[in-house]
């Protein structure tokens, strides 16, 4: 098991290193951080432009810039932002903290729902429940995430107006001023999370539940489930111990693969609900051609995805003994 884990780790490291290079080159070549400065009206003096150019390391050749950037990261220095007062390192970590709690909660909810609905749909194949679940699955798969988010936000606002009280929070990740101690703060944050989490979860749920239904059907038709029944085990035991246990295995891989697209979904969700998270941070940075911010963002997100995939691989090894001995 340990050998398996080490092997997976060793494979991930080169990918991460190469991806830092690819990200850096791609972003640096595609945007010019000086563009906002140059297009200012009235145009700033040449001295200012040169000073900015130097501060943003644009007078160095690309490879040298990359080297400085990468080595700087180990010291906690993520490079200069277009906004000179921003410390990219601390800002990006804080922002991602906000976003990750949204992503994690959404993933957990989507997973649980998908497993339950997928399994029940497979067991009761072709029933009304199955058709309804399939229909809604397809519907949410075809729904643009931003449209759904706006819809939910509007629904929240309408309910708030109808009830006359702030039932749903539709703006921001938390209130600016919260009375009371830790508990009040906690419920405030939770309250702000409801709508965005539902919005982000629904689309992942749709694709995972269809996948789970397929996996469950395949398992239910398998020879070993038939043998389990022939042993005289009750339907429930066969379902839990044999069917579900095996049907969950492929889901770990799918979840890990989808993480990158969930992060994309979070970007959209944050924009709609006006969260000060990593998503809006990225969007602002792109608009300002703030290359170092974008590079830091992509680096953190890629690291996270690779780490998560590693964990999923290990989990797969735990769940499926055949992989361990391969």
């Amino acid at each position: 098991m340990l050998a398996f884990a080490l092997r997976r780790l060793l494979v991930s490291v080169p990918i991460l290193i190469v991806s830092t290079f690819v990200v850096f080159v791609m972003v640096s070549l595609s945007a010019n951080p000086l563009s906002t400065l140059i297009t200012r009206n009235p145009p700033p003096p040449q001295q200012t432009i040169d000073a900015e150019r130097h501060r943003l390391h644009l007078d160095q050749p690309l490879l040298e810039r990359y080297w400085n950037w990468i080595t700087g990261i180990f010291r906690g220095d993520f490079g200069p932002s277009v906004n000179s007062t921003t410390d990219i390192g601390s800002e990006v970590i804080t922002r991602f903290g906000v976003t990750f709690r949204l992503i994690f909660l959404a993933m957990i909810i989507a997973l649980i729902l998908a497993i339950v609905v997928g399994a029940v749909s497979a067991v009761k194949q072709y029933s009304k429940l199955d058709y309804t679940a399939t229909f809604f699955g397809f519907l949410f798969l075809s729904m643009p995430s931003f449209w759904l988010a706006v819809l939910l936000k509007q629904a929240g606002i309408s309910i708030n107006t109808a009830v006359g009280d702030q039932v749903f929070y539709t703006i921001g990740a938390e209130s600016i001023y919260v009375q009371g101690g830790a508990w009040a703060h906690f419920t405030d944050v939770l309250g702000h999370m409801i709508l965005p989490t539902i919005s982000l979860a629904l689309i992942s749920y749709a694709s995972w539940s269809r996948f789970q239904r397929g996996a469950m059907l395949e398992v239910l038709n398998s020879d070993y489930v038939r043998l389990a029944r022939a042993k005289g085990l009750s339907r429930g035991v066969v379902m839990r111990r044999h069917a579900l246990r095996n049907a969950l295995i492929p889901l770990t891989t799918v979840t890990a693969l989808d993480l990158a697209s969930i992060i994309s979904g979070a970007v959209v969700t944050e924009k709609v609900f006006q969260w000060q998270g990593a998503g809006t941070f990225l969007l602002d940075a792109i608009a300002q051609s703030d290359v170092y911010v974008v590079e830091a963002w992509l680096l953190i997100s890629a690291t996270f995805v690779i780490l998560f995939n590693l964990v999923a691989d290990l989990l797969y090894g735990v769940l499926d003994p055949r992989i361990r001995h391969a």
Binding site: S19, F138, L141, M143, P144, V150, L151, S264, V267, L298
Partner: protein, 311 residues
């Protein structure tokens, strides 16, 4: 007990007229593979309905858009009007006819998605097929590159690249396709990996077929089913990504329009002027939904999953 000879003669006589029956046992109506797939597809009611609906939408977008009296940029004196006979989808704050805009947005979104699907499918399939066929270090290198692309959130990367590329729709398509091929390559590789172990490939090789012949005469036709199904689904995913990109402001920009852009402008008007929000959204959903159903129908047509009856 009848004499053996009589029985034999009788049996022989029976055999003559019986050979017809035996032949009937063997004769199977010959249908080409393609016809079989088409026939199975049309048994899928939902997929057929979706196909019809999609064709209607496409025709509406192009022919309807061309015939309609208002263009997407025409400014009429009717501001913020609810849907009426004059403006079936209403108008926006400036007075532009929403039907024209939605149809134009549909055209653009469809064009981008189809281009994305074609480009990514071609590149991705070749990439994945080569990786899966040759295996070894070729496989490792190719798939590591593909994995690398997949670790990045595609919307984010697309936004970064599209921001500086400008708003013309086909460049947006190139950007998106430049990222999606990685998904396709994974699928293609998987298909090729499972096919190459099958006996008919070994048989072809034993008969002396070279790599090229094996790839084109044997692997590709058998992989075609998966590739087509995947390409179809890609169109729907493409539309969702493109509209999201445009919604965020990094995709299609003025003077062109996109369904995503229309929704973005309508964010604050969901309650007050709902026609600005719901019509574009509805079109996106309809297109993606019909394509998904068609893809599902195609998947069943190429590879029917029958419930096993253990005999």
């Amino acid at each position: 007990m009848p004499e053996p000879s009589t029985t034999e003669t009788t049996a022989a006589k029976r055999q003559d007229s019986k050979s017809g029956a035996v032949e009937r046992e063997f004769t199977v109506q010959e249908r080409g593979q393609f016809q079989l797939v088409v026939r199975r597809f049309f048994q899928h009611r939902l997929a057929v309905i979706s196909l019809v609906l999609l064709v209607v939408i496409v025709l509406l977008a192009y022919i309807g858009g061309w015939l309609w009296k208002y263009g997407p940029e025409d400014i009429t004196p009717d501001n913020s009007e609810a849907p009426s006979l004059e403006h079936p989808f209403g108008t926006d704050a400036v007075g532009k006819d929403m039907l024209a805009n939605v149809l134009r947005g549909t055209q653009i979104s469809l064009q981008i998605s189809v281009l994305v699907a074609i480009f990514s499918t071609v590149v991705g399939t070749i990439w994945g097929a080569v990786a899966g066929y040759y295996r070894g270090w070729v496989d490792t290198v190719l798939m590591r590159i593909s994995d690398l692309v997949l670790t990045l959130p595609l919307l984010a990367v697309a936004a970064v690249l599209a921001h500086n590329v400008g708003g013309s729709w086909w460049l947006i398509a190139v950007v998106i396709a430049g990222l999606y091929w990685a998904y396709v390559s994974r699928v293609a590789r998987g298909v090729v990996l499972s096919l190459r172990e099958k006996e008919f490939i070994e048989a072809a090789r034993a008969l002396g077929a070279g790599d090229g012949r094996i790839i084109f005469r044997h692997l590709v036709p058998n992989a075609l089913g998966s590739v087509i199904v995947n390409a179809t689904i890609l169109v729907s995913i493409g539309i969702l990504l493109e509209t999201a990109l445009s919604f965020l402001g990094f995709g299609v920009r003025a003077p062109d329009t996109s369904l995503g852009l229309l929704v973005s402008s309508a964010q604050t008007a969901v309650d007050t002027r709902p026609w600005l929000f719901y019509f574009p959204g509805l079109f996106i959903i309809l297109i993606a939904l019909t394509i998904n159903f068609i893809g599902d129908g195609l998947r069943d047509a190429f590879d029917p999953q029958q419930t096993k009856v253990r005999a």
